[in-house]
Amino acid sequence: MFFDFVPLIAAVSDVTSATQNKTLETAMDTTGPIISENVHHFLPLTILVCLALLVPVSMLLISWFAGKYARVNRDLSDQSKEKHEPFECGIQTAATVGQADERFSVKFYIIGMLFLVFDLEVAFLYPFVIRFKYAEGWDLLWVLLAFLVLLEAGYLYLFRKGALDWEKEV
């Protein structure tokens, strides 16, 4: 059943390209095709999502059952006991040994925060890029520059203050 992936992805990209080929006229009166009318377009996507959920869940379940089998046969020599330890490139790290809720450094927080802000920025730039195709004159460029200059000023500030410097003690 995993071989169905390829036509599925093709179907999904088909939907995407169909939306991209919209003309300016339809963009202007803010209309488009009603997707729910032909919901079968999204059926492939739904199946894809289900598959994406199925794979990790089945992996977890398989390892759980297999692990159960391994736990039953635990009365082995010390040598094979090592096999049951979590393994990561031969080094014992916090990720493999100990609690999963290890305290993180605040550095991750700053990086995560910056990611979120620029993620949102991209979210706003995406419709802009689509719109840019139909732009006339320079107006839209100034609009974008005003948007970006402010955010990049913030980026510059953080850069100068060393917020992005991983080695620096915070």
Binding site: E37, Q99, V106, G112, M113, P127, L150, L158
Partner: protein, 186 residues
């Protein structure tokens, strides 16, 4: 919306997912688990947006909320000392008052809803494409949202600078870290 059997089934599926995950998010004792449940809740919302033909909003729901905000919440949980495993029991009084309040709001909404369903849904509602969103977002006329678009950059900027400033100047040994300013910006 053109209600077909498929859309109906999908609607109830997504709604059940939202309700179930939402309940889990507020009742589960481990904060990390409730963050994961929140993720499921947001996935369901994205599905509903998709059913309403708002593909861009659905996309952003997944990209920004699940990819950004929830991950960020998990960071915030992991930053704190064992907040993820410490149980924070609520008193019975709080449970009762919370449930009562929720029931009142539900009652209010249910009481009002049947009288207004015919006016609630715009009959002319059509699919909103990314083209249309881009057009209206950057339109300088009365129909557009040019000014909020520009103001949002200041909003993002202040959230970014503010959160970084607070996070950067932690007291040594401070245990309380609650400033998720960036999270509320969205």
């Amino acid at each position: 919306m053109e209600a077909t059997l498929t859309t109906d089934i999908l609607f109830y599926l997504f709604s059940a997912a939202i309700l179930g995950c939402g309940l889990m998010a507020v009742t589960v004792k481990n904060l990390l688990h409730s963050a994961i449940a929140l993720m499921g809740c947001l996935f369901g919302t994205a599905g509903l947006f998709l059913l309403l033909d708002h593909e861009f909003v659905a996309l952003m729901q997944i990209l920004v909320y699940i990819g950004g905000v929830v991950i960020f919440i998990i960071y915030a949980v992991l930053l704190t000392t064992h907040l993820g495993t410490r149980y924070l029991p609520a008193s019975t009084l709080k449970y009762i008052s919370g449930v009562t309040l929720a029931a009142i709001v539900l009652g209010l909404v249910l009481h009002i809803d049947p009288q207004a369903t015919h006016t609630a849904v715009n009959p002319d509602r059509t699919a909103t494409t990314i083209d249309a969103i881009g057009y209206r977002l950057l339109d300088g006329s009365t129909n557009g949202f040019l000014i909020p678009f520009e103001v949002i950059s200041v909003l993002l900027l202040s959230a970014m600078i503010g959160a970084a400033t607070i996070a950067k100047h932690q007291k040594p040994g401070a245990t309380n870290d609650e400033d998720e300013t960036g999270g509320s910006a969205s």
